[in-house]
């Protein structure tokens, strides 16, 4: 006991002590020149000391788990073979003092004002270029300077979003590494980090008296609503989609601020308006928050291959200049080459130079600079002037001349002399260091920090927080950490913090009464429908596997039902006939079939494919899912080890894993069932599930009771189907008999009170369809309604005794085969009726040339 206490005191002492003993390369955020802890770090470091290493380690693992469950990641689907990039969030935040923050706040607001004025001028009279304050050839060489936006940008209202990546040099001066004016630059990552971090370190946050983010976003939300110009405006956040590395940030922010998350194909233009394609037809959009590359938003007037926005957007934008923020074309002012000229602009705009400057940089379109750099290449890092800005951690990678091969060096010299206008050269700058919690110790880690400025109704405001990224000490200029080791940024305050206002739960006075009439994009309805189908498919496949493995484990002679299980497996593997057929070794055969159904990447209904599809659909419809629901899908993520473990496991181990998997699905469905508003989105999710369940059940019955009528097999087959349909207990409590075919068929096919029966599924689908907008004119039924009416009516008219009778069971076969045939047709009919707007893909026509 005494020894334990002594050791823990020693560990505590060494946590800060060993940090202080280490050597610093640059400016130390936490320690001053004499190695004393700076005042604004004292509360945090003292608190860390008090917690002790065990508690810190436990908190660190809670952060890790929370990050994983929240699903913060870059590149969710960018490369199928590469696992999702791991996002790491440090337990130790970066702390900024009141004085530092006041200075940064003022300096960033000035920079935002300068960027705003420069942007408006470049797209208007361009006086700054005419007078040579900004080199015209820098602007004209930038592919992000979009000429068709001339005249629109100055009418668009002020620049809405500005972000800057900052580093602090050896002398403790802040400099700007990169500016972001194109998109929201991953602000959603910063919010997600804060939410996760507060969950684990909220007590420390409060003790340090750090400033909350929610009031800032509240302001932002109001400012955007007022920019949109009408009550209950329809505001959409335009994302490039799940393949973009910032998709998480977009989806998170859209949810956080309550905006629709849309992709280019969800939108279309008509006349002078912008519309969203929804289940109920076209709905006008009042404000588009653009998180896509401006060059790609209008294939008609801009890059002909760009469909990240709807063709015709600029035409609509010209008639409604305030429709898009940031205005299309805004990226030009983030051009790195502007760095050396910004002070000239500031003199014009503010009447004084900037307090916060860009890191020393040369634009290689300037003759003198280019000649100098060509002669002194080794001192510089060369980067693209424009590319790779809007993305955290993916800034254009600098080419450090010293580390190039002879051929690369030759190519770089060539590029500088041929296309210098698109390049900048920078000298290595220093990064300050701050304590990072790693391996139970506090380590010095250099970092850069991204700070966000937004235009609110009272002018520019800086988000009191940020996204800090650990940088490679030797990556001289850029934030280049695709591995994403990040930190929260705490801004301290002398004032008492106002009561907690989370945007997740709006205060009564700011809440609008809004009852589930949130519009559903056709595409999202499609995604939800298939999410429902894949979910149910995974459930069925896992039940079949569980049934098969149970019977393998409990092998008990002729009554064991192995054949029945095998027939169900074979149906699901129908694309894979090679695995079936052999009777020689029944056990091994079943095991092999099972593995194939689990892990075959080409199996249409294999578990691995189904999981991939669940994750894909869930991700596409992500802004419609609650966080809890999303978290339960963690094991379906493409890089999760679940499938590998399951396909490698022996039957008993596999059974445990299958139970876990089924529990996850049940949890997901439970969350959706309990939390999702009963709007059209819900209808599609539930219809997908019902349709898939009806199909699987019909197919199972067809496999078990029609094609083989061996009476010896019938009892185990009846047991199996009751098990698969989760109706064993219902049957037992109702009949207290061994299963008999007519009673089982009645329970599974016709009983509309059994939530697992075919009739129940059909009735549910029918109710959903009745509630959906029809759009059908005249008296005739739409195809989907006609099909469901036919199926439901014939189920209701069925005579169960007749079905089960007869040695050939031709009645049963006819009835069930009819379902197996018509249900996919119904699925297609629903698709044609409701999702076809989503399928309208615009494309370019070929121009005629001489």
């Amino acid at each position: 006991m005494v020894e334990n206490v002594a050791r823990s005191i020693e560990a505590r002492a060494s946590l800060i002590g060993s940090y202080r003993a280490g050597n610093s390369d640059g400016y130390d955020e936490a320690l001053d020149d004499r190695g004393e802890i700076r005042p604004h770090w004292r509360t945090l470091l003292a608190a860390i000391d008090e917690l002790g290493t065990d508690e810190l380690a436990s908190r660190k693992s809670r952060i890790d788990r929370r990050v994983r469950e929240t699903g913060i990641a870059y590149d969710i689907f960018s490369h199928p073979k590469r696992p999702t990039q791991r996002w790491q969030l440090d337990l130790a935040p970066v702390v900024l003092s009141v004085a530092d923050w006041q200075w940064l706040e003022a300096a960033l607001v000035e920079r935002a004002q300068v960027m705003d004025a420069l942007l408006a001028d470049l797209y208007d009279s361009a006086g700054l270029m005419r007078r040579g304050i900004v080199p015209p050839e820098l602007v004209y060489s930038d592919p992000s300077y979009l000429r068709p936006c001339q005249g629109v940008v100055p009418m668009a209202g002020p620049l809405r979003f500005y972000a800057a990546d900052l580093a602090r040099d050896r002398q403790g001066r802040w400099t700007v590494i990169d500016s972001h004016t194109e998109t929201l630059a991953g602000i959603g990552f910063a919010v997600a980090n804060r939410v996760v971090h507060t969950h684990v370190a909220g007590d420390l946050f409060k003790r340090a008296n750090a400033v909350r983010l929610a009031p800032f976003f509240n302001e932002l939300q109001q400012a955007l609503a007022s920019h949109a110009g009408r009550e209950n405006a329809r505001i959409a956040l335009l994302t490039p989609g799940p393949h973009h590395e910032d998709y998480f940030s977009h989806a998170y922010l859209a949810r956080y601020l309550g905006f629709l998350l849309v992709e280019g194909p969800d939108l279309r233009t008509r006349g002078n308006n912008l519309y969203l394609k929804t289940l109920e037809g076209l709905k006008e959009i009042d404000l588009l928050i653009r998180c896509v590359d401006g060059r790609l938003v209008d294939a008609l007037e801009l890059d002909p291959s760009g469909f990240a926005g709807p063709p015709g957007l600029l035409r609509v934008n010209r008639a409604n200049p305030r429709l898009v923020v940031n205005a299309v074309g805004s990226a030009v002012v983030q051009n790195r080459g502007l760095g050396p000229y910004l002070n000239g602009v500031a003199e014009e705009v503010l009447g004084k130079p900037l307090a916060l400057n860009d890191a020393p940089r040369l634009w290689l379109g300037d003759d003198k600079a280019r000649r100098h750099v060509l002669a002194n290449l080794d001192r510089y890092v060369v980067r693209k002037a424009q590319e790779g800005t809007g993305r955290p951690g993916h800034a254009a990678v600098g080419r450090y001349a010293q580390s190039l091969t002879a051929a690369e060096r030759e190519a770089l010299l060539e590029e500088i002399s041929l296309a210098g206008a698109g390049l900048v050269a920078e000298e290595a700058i220093g990064f300050s260091e701050a304590p990072s919690f790693e391996g139970g110790r506090l380590e010095r880690r250099p970092f850069a920090v991204r700070l966000y400025v937004a235009r609110t109704t009272s002018g520019y405001e800086v988000m009191p927080g940020g996204l800090a990224l650990t940088v490679e000490p030797h990556a001289a200029v850029a934030q280049s950490t695709p591995e994403g080791h990040t930190r929260d940024v705490w801004v301290l305050s002398d004032d008492e913090q106002r009561p907690h206002v989370s945007l997740w739960r709006p205060m009564i006075e700011t809440a609008r009464v809004e009852r589930s009439q949130r519009v559903i994009q056709s595409r999202v309805a499609d995604d939800l429908f298939w999410l429902g189908r894949y979910n149910e498919r995974a459930d069925w496949v896992m039940r079949v596997l569980r049934g098969a493995y149970r019977r393998l484990v409990e092998d008990s002679g002729s009554e064991d039902g192995l054949d029945a299980a095998r027939r169900c497996l074979e149906v699901l593997l129908v694309k894979d006939r090679t695995a079936a057929g052999s009777d020689r070794n029944r056990d091994q055969d079943l095991g092999r079939l099972g593995k194939s159904l689990i892990a075959d990447p080409n199996g249409a209904r294999s578990l691995v494919r189904t999981f991939e599809n669940i994750y894909r659909c869930a991700n596409l419809a992500r802004d419609r899912l609650s966080f809890e629901a999303w978290q339960t899908l963690a094991r379906f993520r493409p890089c999760d080890t679940y499938i590998t473990a399951l396909s490698g496991a022996e039957p008993t181990g596999a059974l445990d894993l299958l139970e876990e998997g089924l529990a996850s699905l049940a949890a997901f469905n439970g969350y959706m069932h309990e939390n999702m508003t009963r709007n059209f989105g819900w209808s599609f999710l539930d219809m997908g599930r019902r349709l898939e369940r009806a199909f699987n059940l019909s197919e199972g019955i067809l496999a078990l009771f029609v094609r083989s009528t061996d009476p010896e097999e019938e009892m185990p087959a009846l047991r199996l189907i009751l098990e698969l349909a989760d109706s064993f207990i219902t049957y037992r409590s109702r009949y207290r008999l061994d299963p008999s075919l007519p009673l089982v068929l009645d329970l599974l096919l016709l009983d509309e009170t059994n939530p697992r029966s075919l009739a129940f599924q059909l009735a549910a689908i029918s109710r959903h369809l009745e509630g959906l907008p029809d759009g059908q004119r005249g008296g005739s039924l739409s195809e989907d309604r006609r099909l469901i009416l036919g199926l439901l009516t014939s189920a209701r008219l069925t005579d169960v005794e007749g079905l089960a009778a007869g040695p050939c069971r031709s009645e049963l076969e006819r009835a069930v085969a009819e379902h197996v045939r018509v249900l996919p047709e119904l699925s297609n009919a629903i698709g044609r009726h409701y999702f076809n707007l989503a399928d309208e893909v615009p494309h370019r026509t070929q121009g005629a040339a001489s």
Binding site: R130, Y140, R268, G271, A299, P304, A849
Partner: protein, 296 residues
Amino acid sequence: MIFEVRHKTHYRYSQPVAQSQHLIHLAPRSDVRQSVRSHGMIIEPAPAMRYDGEDAFGNPVSILDIEEPHREFVLKARSTIATSTPEAVDFSRTSAWDELDGALYGEGKPCDLDVVQYRCSSRLTPATRNIRDYAAVSFAPGRPVLEAAHELTQRIFRDFRFDAAATDVSTPIADVLRTRRGVCQDFAHLALAFLRAHRVPARYMSGYILTKPPAGQPKLQGSDASHAWISVWSPESGWCDFDPTNGLVVAEEHIVLALGRDYGDVCPISGVIVGGGHHTVSVGVDVVKVGHNEAR
């Protein structure tokens, strides 16, 4: 001379088109060298919305939004234009190509952005080592800029073969330089890349040339369709047009529709459609001389 130009474009689609939007550069711009007497367009089916304006380069532009389902799209443009022969320029008395900075960024006077912007490479006229090296022969230090430009266009005319089958609208100029074959648009792009690699302001000209040649003279390449050539700037004589496809200095027979950095800025018709399946397009151009310019 006074010309009448009829330009008909006809798209046929294998499937119905639900929506089509078009960006049109078919109305000729007025210019020091030409004045537009009349212009009109007939569009079928009629667009739900039509926007007429001026693009960033000062060209007349129309944007059409057709909302009614259709399987054909026909656009007939008809214009009457009077052209005049530009004043003869003594190329040897223009400024040296490597001393243009002085004229463009001189102390105390505002920079002429309408010239400077055409110095930069564009998407379809990128600088490469081969491009720079091919052109370098014509750019001896201190050489008058229009002399160099003229020689370059003559070299293109000599070294390259007109071959409508060799390229399409997406062929990069690096390929054209390698195969030495192409059409007027390719040669214009090449000439622009050569000039811009040496930071000479040069712009892409889209338009027509006279279809029926005067008696006894050969018909020029590029007639019966839209044509393309270039315009090069010098401090002494402003913009001067060269036609690399025909190895000419432009006189009265060229009619300008629009100008820009490259074809991408001035494409006569470009469109985005929803639906439509496959499509074919046919273009017919007639340029007829209808009279001489009255005395001004």
